[in-house]
């Protein structure tokens, strides 16, 4: 009898231990709330994100959102910074996507081990905008799905059971007073309901993910940039190479360096880098004066779906698909296709001086008589700079104030903030090209790098065209944090009343001051169908609740 009791006790303790272990494996969860469950290729999809932190563990605030097709092929991604664990952004759905169901995946970087990130995938139906006679849609076979809890007691009240096209609608979202205080945010969307994909609104598909890039460090208002240095001939990774990153800017250019590890991998942290622009990267090692650079992208890999199912569309579903495709065509005809304006990449300067410190002297050649080339400029204006053009090459040396002598090595030469290793770039530059020259006459340290003086040339018209002809310098177009932008879906409806209105989403807002009765108003478009009002409520304990209501548009 006592033996039986002992066994029971052991089993109980074992179960307790397992439960404690499972709880200790709690992770950061990221939820994604797109403004639509389907779209036409070329549309702009807006989304909100919610990070649910793992207790006190350090969590980044940057959410990466990626769009994958039904066989997990990466299509596009964006990164948004969250405030108070909530963020918003937009994703441009490429024009060329074929009709089918795609995955939207959101994740944050963190200290999780590979394969333990749980990605709450959302489904997005995309109709190709050139598609005709869409009878079926390819859908991935997903293993498991979960649904957000329904908000019991929330009432979405519309004035009428049916509404007309281009009608001003006012809808009230009522929350029981006893629950008002527990709601932190409401995300309200009103749009045309897709009979095929509407069911996916409160559904998400958890799947384990493995990072492909640098997801081991929490990103806070910044982006981690990873890459590999490879030998130009053998394409093998180069370890110990000095990788220099420059981001040219009109005021103070960004500069950083990294030493590649044994696998040739380097990493930079672009803090507060917002927008899309050019990164100039060059790598040099003792073995290879010129190395090749390959950037690694921060995508997350999830298990491939078990298969792809071809789902036949019903009459209503097919009709909706044709309606929105035609609407997309006419919308472009009448309103033209305009991308949200891209913001030029900018990394705010954290200090009031360039990375090479305060210059010893700054020379503005424009203040002097016009000089035709850099030889003349250095001879006449750059006192302390020895620039010699000979048959066997160009040499540059600067005076060392610290040691009261001329340095024996070349200084750090910069053109618009980008390190230059071949002085030929300067040789034809005269007064008309050069805005200013900064000179540093000390041995300058930047971290563990040291330079025997600095000569920084800034041109009047910054251009990166010289990089194309310079071996060893790579130029990468790169998207960092997405600039914060507000939804502007209602702005277009009233300014051109004579033009047709083909909006599929009529209203989208994130309400942070939640009242017992929250009123929203918008105008419907010229499209018939069902209006779907969807509300996501996020509680102060980060629980996600949902409610929705459909109204006929006639």
């Amino acid at each position: 009898m006592t033996q039986m009791k002992n066994i029971k006790r052991h089993i109980f303790l074992l179960l307790l231990a397992v439960s404690v272990f499972v709880n200790s494996q709690a992770q950061v969860k990221v939820h994604l709330f797109p403004d639509r469950s389907s779209c036409v290729s070329g549309d702009t999809l807006w989304f909100s994100t919610l990070i649910i932190p793992d207790g006190d563990a350090e969590t980044g605030n940057v959410v990466h959102v990626q769009l994958d097709n039904s066989v997990n092929r990466h299509i596009t991604n964006v990164s948004v910074a969250c405030t108070d664990n909530q963020g918003q952004g937009y994703l441009l759905v490429p024009d060329s996507l074929s009709t089918g169901i795609y995955f939207l995946k959101a994740f944050v970087s963190g200290p999780e081990k590979d394969g333990t990130n749980v990605i709450n995938q959302r489904l997005l139906t995309v109709y190709n905008r050139f598609g005709e006679d869409i009878n079926s849609v390819n859908s991935p076979e997903t293993n498991s799905s979960e649904t957000f809890d329904q908000f019991n007691g929330m009432v979405i009240a519309a004035p009428d059971k049916t509404i007309g096209m281009r009608e001003n609608v006012s809808i009230k979202i009522k929350i029981p007073e006893d629950r008002q205080s527990e709601i932190k945010t409401l995300i309200v969307t009103a749009g045309l309901a897709d009979p095929f994909s509407e069911k996916n609104f409160p559904v998400f598909f958890p799947e384990k993910g493995t990072d492909t890039g640098s997801l081991s460090i929490p990103e806070k208002n910044g982006i981690l940039l990873d890459g590999v240095v490879v030998a130009p001939d053998t394409k093998t990774p180069v370890s110990g190479a000095i990788v220099l990153l420059s981001i040219p800017d009109d005021s103070i250019s960004y500069f950083d360096y990294c030493i590649s590890d044994s696998a040739g991998i380097f990493r930079f942290y672009l803090r507060n880098a917002v927008g899309t622009g050019n990164l100039v990267i060059q790598a040099r090692s003792q073995q290879y004066p010129v190395c090749n650079i390959k950037l690694l992208e921060n995508y997350i890999e999830t298990k491939d779906p078990s298969g792809v199912e071809n789902i036949l569309l019903s009459y209503d579903q097919k009709k909706y698909a044709e309606t929105v495709i035609n609407a997309s065509y006419f919308n472009r005809l009448f309103n033209r296709y305009s991308l949200p304006p891209a913001k030029k990449l900018s990394v705010p300067a954290e200090f009031n001086f360039p990375f090479y410190g305060e210059p010893t002297a700054t020379v503005y050649p424009g203040l002097f008589i016009d000089l035709p080339d850099f030889t003349e400029i250095s001879r006449e204006l750059l006192h302390g700079v020895q620039y010699r053009e000979r048959k066997d090459g160009i040499t540059m040396r600067v005076y060392n104030y610290g040691g009261s002598e001329i340095f024996t090595d070349e200084p750090l030469k910069l053109l618009d903030g980008i390190p230059v290793f071949d002085s030929h770039v300067f040789s034809k530059m005269g007064t008309t090209d050069i805005r200013k020259v900064d000179e540093v006459f000390y041995e300058r340290f930047i971290g563990d790098l040291s330079f025997q003086g600095v000569v920084a040339v800034y041109t009047r018209k910054q251009s990166l065209s010289w990089i194309e002809n310079t071996p060893g310098i790579s130029l990468f177009g790169y998207s960092c944090l997405q600039p914060s932008k507000k939804w502007n879906l209602t702005a277009r409806q009233n300014d051109k009343p004579n033009l047709p209105d083909f909006r599929k989403v009529f209203y989208r807002n994130r309400i942070t001051k939640v009242l017992p009765e929250n009123e929203i108003s918008f105008q419907t478009s010229d499209l018939k169908g069902k209006l779907s009002v969807q509300v996501i409520a996020i509680t102060r304990k980060n629980q996600v609740l949902y409610s929705c209501k459909q109204i006929e548009i006639k």
Binding site: I217, G240, I242, D256, Y257, C258, I259, S260, D261, R267, F268, Y269, R284, Q286, E350, F351, N352, F353, F355, Y356, G357, E358, T395, G402, G403, T408, D409, E410, P411, L412, K413, F421, Y442, E443, R444, F445, I446, G447, D448, L449, S450, F451, Q452
Partner: protein, 242 residues
Amino acid sequence: MKQIFKRIIYAAIFIEIVFISNAQEMHSPLVKLTPASNSLNYKLPGIRYYVRPSYMGSEFLTEKWCPANLVLENGDRYDSILVRLNSYLDELIEYNNRINATIMLDKAAISGFDITFEDGLTGHFQKIYFDKFPKGDRYFSILYEGKLKALLWYKTIETQTSVYVDPSGFMHNTEFVLTRNYYIEFPGGEIVKFALKRRSFLQVFPEHKKQVRRLLRKNDVLLKTEDDISKAVSLIEKEVTL
């Protein structure tokens, strides 16, 4: 045979010198950089520090390199780096053991640092702009920090002395002398200097002289040590409405 051997060595040295100079180097060719040089922080900027002639006394606050935690103006931290405060130049000198270099760190980039002295005591230094003569940023040791701040500025000065010969055989007639300068920083940012004497300290508060004097007397604060300064400022902050 010896001659040939010598020539080979000289040739090798010459070739090495030619090889290591001229090119644009980003670090000393004698030191190989490793990923230990990597940091996601803003990289510490500075210039090469050259050792000055060895006068009598020291231009440094400490005799040895002391570990310090450094905070940059952008909030980045560097922990356990070896530094010495050059109180003559009022500059922070770092010994970078990875590249075997002494670097005078850019004052503009540094916000403050906590240093552990040779005797195990710690000091908290902040860079504060001093708007009197000579104007500029100074590294102040913070004796007390509240609404009022009690500051100590270590300043080494060069003074005339009788002629002596340094260990290298050079003759000098100057020596380094470390001075301690005390200041109170008021909430508005005004910084007032005082000496380590009760009378001088009372001059800092001309409108509350009587009140402060009574307070110091009541609490037996003699103002003869730096601890007394901290205690006095703390009492004034609590008891006197400035």
